[in-house]
Symmetry: C2
C-alpha cells in the first residue's frame, strides 16, 4: 500500500521542497517560506532564523528536516504568527517590548524579569521587535527549554551539564 | 587630568561610533565594521553576528559596549580574521569543514567529534563556511565557554544550571 504520508495534503508540498534527498535544509526552508507567502506583509525570514528552526526539531543533528518535523514546524509557526498578529494590532510589523514579555509568559515560560529584559534587548531593533526576530526568539526559547527539560527528568528545575553536552545543545540553536 | 582613554588611539574612533550615549549597539557596530573595511573582500557582517559580538562581551546585559569591550572585540576579531585567512589560502572567502575542525581545536576548545560535526552543519552553506558564519561560530563558542567556565569554579568540567540561569546565558548569545 501507499505510505501513510501519501494521503496527507502536505506531502506533495513537502516532497517538492525537499528535492532529491527527501529532507529539507535551511536554504530550502527559506525559499519555501518566502514563496508560500507565509510571512505575508512581514519581512521574509532570514537564513539564520531558518537554520534555528531546523535545529529546534533536528534531534538527529543532520541539519535537515523530515516530513514529521516539517509538519511540526508549520504548526508552531502558525501559532507564533497568530500570537504576533494579535499583539501587532496596528499592522506595523513590529511589537513592543512589553508585548514580548506578555508573549513569553503566554507561551508558559517562567523566567525572571532580568531574563525577559535580556531577551527584549537581544531581539529588538530601535526599541521594537520585528516578526523575524520574534520567531527566532520563540524558536530558541522552545529549543533550549526542550533541551533543558529532556535532561531534567525529575523536574527539579536544575540540570548538571558536562561541557561537551552544554556546547552541543547550545551551539546548534 | 584627561581620562586614561583619551591617550588611546582608538578612543576618537570609538566616540565617533558610539554617539551621544557613549556606548556602541549592534547597529552602530555593523556600520563601523562595514565602513572601516574590516571584512575586506569578504561579505560584511550581518546584524545578527554583530548582536552576538556584543552579547559575548556584555556582562551587564545592556545590549551595548563600552570602550574596553570595544577594544577586546577588535583584538578577538583580528585574531579570528588571521586564522580564517590562514585557512582560506585561495581567497575564496570560505573554508572547508575539516579546516573548521582544525580552527576549533587550534583555539583550544576540546569538544567531541559529534559536537564538531554539529557545529560544521550549523555554520556552513552549501558545504563551506563563510567568514561571517565563521566569526559568529567563534563568538558563540567563546561566549558559551566563558559562561560555562565562570560557573565551573572547581574546574570539574560540569556545571549545575538552574533553568532561569541556563536561559539567561544561552538566549543572549
Amino acid at each position: 500500500g501507499a505510505p501513510p504520508a501519501a494521503n496527507d495534503p502536505m506531502w506533495g508540498y513537502f516532497t517538492a521542497i525537499a528535492g532529491q534527498d527527501g529532507e529539507v535544509d535551511a536554504e530550502e526552508l527559506q525559499r519555501c517560506l518566502t514563496q508560500s507567502g507565509f510571512t505575508g506583509s512581514y519581512t521574509p525570514f532570514s537564513l539564520e532564523t531558518c537554520r534555528i528552526m531546523i535545529a529546534m526539531l533536528d534531534r538527529d543533528f543532520t541539519g535537515k528536516m523530515g516530513f514529521n518535523e516539517f509538519k511540526d514546524l508549520f504548526q508552531a509557526l502558525n501559532g507564533w504568527k497568530q500570537n504576533f498578529m494579535m499583539f501587532d494590532r496596528d499592522r506595523s510589523g513590529t511589537v513592543e517590548p512589553h508585548e514580548m514579555n506578555q508573549a513569553v509568559n503566554a507561551m508558559g515560560y517562567r523566567v525572571s524579569p532580568q531574563v525577559l529584559n535580556t531577551i527584549v534587548k537581544r531581539y529588538s531593533k530601535g526599541g521594537r521587535i520585528f516578526f523575524d526576530d520574534y520567531v527566532a526568539c520563540c524558536v530558541k526559547l522552545r529549543a533550549l527549554t526542550d533541551n533543558f527539560r529532556r535532561r531534567d527528568t525529575m523536574g527539579q528545575g536544575a540540570v548538571t551539564f558536562q561541557y561537551d553536552d552544554f556546547i552541543m545543545c547550545t551551539m546548534a540553536i
